[in-house]
């Protein structure tokens, strides 16, 4: 496989968008673990404020982490931060999220055309190999708005 850009660039690219000023990612404590070769891995810690009432993270946080990781996998595949938007998302819940556990999502961008990218991935409890959920989805490429690495954020 050929890599037009070294892995480091992709990690830096990811941090530029996912690690800085994003209010939701900050609220969730979402962290980029790895991003390379159309694959992305992200984690989030357990948080009482995002729990489900049973002292486990709410399933909505898992969907949100999976959706976010899908985006990062696509950025890696496209090697750019062109604007993308979810077209459709399917999540199958295989089992309940364990109490007190953080979450990990691993997603691969399987393929893409000029206008649509296709992803597939899994969600896990941190430190556990049994998947909690699977995700598949498709995303539109070059949607509304500037690229995410654009310097002029005042456009928002």
């Amino acid at each position: 496989m050929s890599h037009m850009k070294p892995e480091l660039d992709q990690a830096a690219m990811a941090k530029a968008f996912f690690g800085s000023q994003h209010p939701l990612f900050n609220a969730f404590g979402i962290d980029v673990v790895a991003v390379v070769d159309a694959r992305a891995e992200m984690t989030m810690p357990f948080s009482e404020t995002l729990a489900d009432g049973h002292r486990a993270l709410h399933r909505g946080t898992l969907v949100t982490l999976l959706d976010t990781t899908c985006g990062l996998a696509i950025f890696s595949a496209l090697r750019s931060l062109r604007p993308i938007a979810t077209i459709d998302l399917r999540v199958d819940y295989l089992r309940a999220i364990p109490a007190g556990s953080g979450l990990r999502a691993v997603v691969e961008c399987i393929g893409w055309t000029d206008s649509v990218a296709f992803v597939s991935g899994r969600g896990y409890a941190v430190g556990d190999k049994m998947p909690l959920a699977t995700v598949t989805g498709s995303f539109a490429i070059d949607t509304l708005g500037p690229a995410f690495d654009t310097t002029d954020r005042s456009a928002a």
Partner: protein
């Protein structure tokens, strides 16, 4: 129209009508109103909901989560259950950008089967359809039901 509508200053201080014991519902900032006998579920944008900060749209995961909680709440009420059922599969179509504003969710039970119940939810912004969600709930024996959340407040 009955008087369940309350203004919400922001997500964290949301005056919750629904399941105040569930922290994530407070994060979403859900509220509800009854219009001509039909319950509508509402979610007001706050900064923590943002997906694309450059054009200020809701995050896709927040929209899907909201849809799922609405579907579960609607189903629990229709079954007169006190616990929110857990869906096994969600499928979510994003039809338009959901710009910062108030999202209105209208749930509909497609079919209440012996094993599986399908609930669809339409999400609208200013009466424009922005998302359609479909949620499958195992309701028979041995289902995941009841594990999602505790008591539904009414």
């Amino acid at each position: 129209m009955t008087g369940l509508v309350r203004p919400i200053p922001d997500c964290t201080e949301a005056a919750m009508v629904l399941v105040p014991a569930v922290p994530f519902h407070r994060f979403l900032g859900m509220r509800e109103e009854v219009v001509e006998g039909e319950t509508r579920y509402l979610m007001d944008f706050c900064e923590n909901h943002v997906g694309n900060p450059l054009i200020r749209t809701f995050h896709g995961g927040v929209l899907a989560s909201f849809g799922e909680v609405v579907a579960a709440t609607h189903l629990a009420r229709s079954l007169a259950r006190v616990e929110l059922p857990a869906c096994s599969t969600l499928t979510f179509d994003y039809l338009r950008p959901a710009f910062a504003g108030t999202i209105c969710a209208v749930p509909h039970i497609g079919r209440a089967g012996r094993r599986i119940t399908t609930v669809s939810v339409q999400l609208r912004v200013e009466n424009k359809l922005v998302c359609i969600g479909r949620f499958l709930f195992p309701v028979g024996r041995g289902s995941l039901g009841g594990s999602a959340c505790p008591a539904v407040g009414t």
